[in-house]
Amino acid sequence: MDQAGLRKLEAQCVQEEPPSCTAECPLHVDARTFCTLMNEGNWSKAWGILTRTLPLPGVLSRLCHGPCMDACLRSKKGGAINLPALERFCAVQVTKPVRSIPMPAKGKRVCVLGGGLAGLSAASDLVRKGIKVVLHSSKPGLELAEADSSPLPSGILESELERLAKLGVDFQPAINVSRAECESLLEEFDAVVIDRTEQDIAPLNLDEPDAVTLGTSLPGLFIAGVEGEPIFQAASGRKAALSSERFMQGASMVAGRDREGSYESLLHTNLDGVAPVDPVAVPEDGYDVEQAKAEAGRCIHCECLECVKHCEYLEQFGSYPKVYARQIYNNQTIVMGTRMANSLINSCTLCGLCETLCPGDFSMEDLCLHARRDLVEQGHMPQSAHEFALRDMNFANGPDCSLARSAPGTKASTHLFFPGCQLTASRPDAVRSVYDHLRHNIPGMGIMLRCCGAPAEWSGQVSEYDRAISELRSQWESLGQPEIVCACPTCQGMIRSALPGASVSSLWQVLQDTGLPESAKNVGMELTVHDPCTARHEPELRQQARTMLESVGAQLNEVEMSGELTECCGFGGLLAEANPKLGSDVAKRRADALSGEVVTYCAMCRDMLSKGGARISHVLDILFPDAAVGDMAARPVPGYSRRRENRAHLREELLRDLWQEPGAPPKPYDELAVSFSDAALSVMEERRILESDVRKTLLHSRDTGQRLVHKETGRLRATYRPVAVTYWVEFEEKDGEYFVHNAWCHRMRVAGGAA
């Protein structure tokens, strides 16, 4: 990602856009924060919000008619927030005078002719920026200064004028200027602002001022002042002040001014869950404390966060995609020092929900996947993030587990059953039953046991992925390019994109077409469907699974976030490997959102959500239940070691039963007699230590004699580093039988004594 790419991405996220009220306000008061503070009863801080933005806060807070109300989204849910009434209430509460600290003097001087709200506002803005102002007016404030007809309570205008005088506005009597006199003022001052509501501009013989800058054919002369509401007069004064400043700095007069007045915000706010609330009526002498708090409390606090609301990952990292894009960009461009965003990059499940929800189609999936590829390419991907998952993939694709055969007694395949490595790991017996059932109806049904390559793809390992896929491709070609029948939505998507020439279908469709098992008719269950995130953009697949379930008599319920809005189980993108704690939080959150008996058609979703606390079955748990288990929805999830054994055993079983071939001889470490305490098994699972790692360590210790002994307990410890991880095992040994109490590991390598 380069700078331009970052800018483009940032622009897709509208979370930092102002709410529509602020965009509509000609002076852009931060009404959202103002309402929060008003609702809390924090009048003085709320007043601070007004004084920060309004040039004459005491006056404008009392006189503004509230054009923001036309844009307020609350108007669709009861009625717009009454900002004018709230501002008036706030102004009355705060009796302390406004304290303005001007910026250091800049050595510039501006002459303002005319003391209407535009002239006064221009003067106020300029003196606050350290620019000296001389203001000529017969009566600063004009009709606001008329004691008997002013809409303001007495004393308000006076104290604002006093404040301006203190800040350095030099009030002088009105003067009439000719064009020549105006030109000489322009020589004496750095700029001149005219408020035409007091100062007659006819003698100057000028065209109407420019709409964007209020500039005229006399450089440095700006004409402000409009008929109409006070807030528009003030905005016109502010525009003239800004133009004078730009003129004095020699900056562009027009660049970046498109959002100076009212504009349309791009902020997206979902009002679906917002209940209507009627406005609080304003009594004749204004709100009281409770009324003001209640009216401010109706503010919706408009913001987007559509993606964050539905993603535990986005929420836990505490911000939103626009900020994440910057963090990931910085992570990538860093030369020295810590890459702070590695965990952010590796924790996205790549589920694609954010992009579906986002009004600007922001895709964290694309962002994180590309960032992972960059990390891998630059050699900066943390080793520990995905190594275990990639080892697991290589095991599934290695000689112990992988198999690619045409059906026994056939030479080529018309079809190929591809169960996927996780279904094989979770329910090898179901894979076997399905394969027997399929062969019965489609004699040319071959089988391929291996991984589809998703872990390599998700971890950004492009070359490992290419290797896995080219092996898969050549096996498929050698079987006669059969139609591939997938039992896993992830495999189906991966294979579809890797083998564009192959015809790929779902097991659910094939079972529906060729016959469901007799035993599964009339299941008569009520089930809530969980769609895997890899089926988000596969409406046909989602429908096929449903149709099949309904045709065996299941009654299906849908949750709110399903179909293309489904939420990930926590396994996607290898989240559960790179960030196990977040992985289980994601699983738990999704499990909590699924009520009753749940069904899904992804083996990994089934296992993750089961660990997350759901009563959940895989479709095959319903079609091909395991008689030995009984309650399939509560079937325990096999651990990492068992998953590997399940794959290897299924391969052996198929070879033996269907092709009458002996399996591979057992490995020497498999022949050790080893048993484990429950505590050992549970820490091993958490630390990603396999039983085979422990066995290798014990075998190494037996062969070398190297081990430690404890002088009181007699317990033993052995250590071994097969490749990149050093394992430690604490155990007892009696007559060649091992009992394992504990195991731990580290990646740091012991390079010997330093002496």
Partner: protein, 71 residues
Amino acid sequence: MSVIRVPEADAGGWSCDRCGEELKPTPVNLEYMDSRFTVELPFCAKCGIALISEELAMGKMLEVEKLLEDK
């Protein structure tokens, strides 16, 4: 380079079974991702086995590994 001492590196009653030797606190080199530290660990002077306890491996060591991986 200075030798790092950590409280988790106590022999705690463990000795080398093969050599019959006590484990003595000894400076040992540890390496990860192009970084090298010298840490005092219980060590068998005869066969060179260094004890890395569960507390050390899953605590400080893991922290340092993660830090180095993000460098």
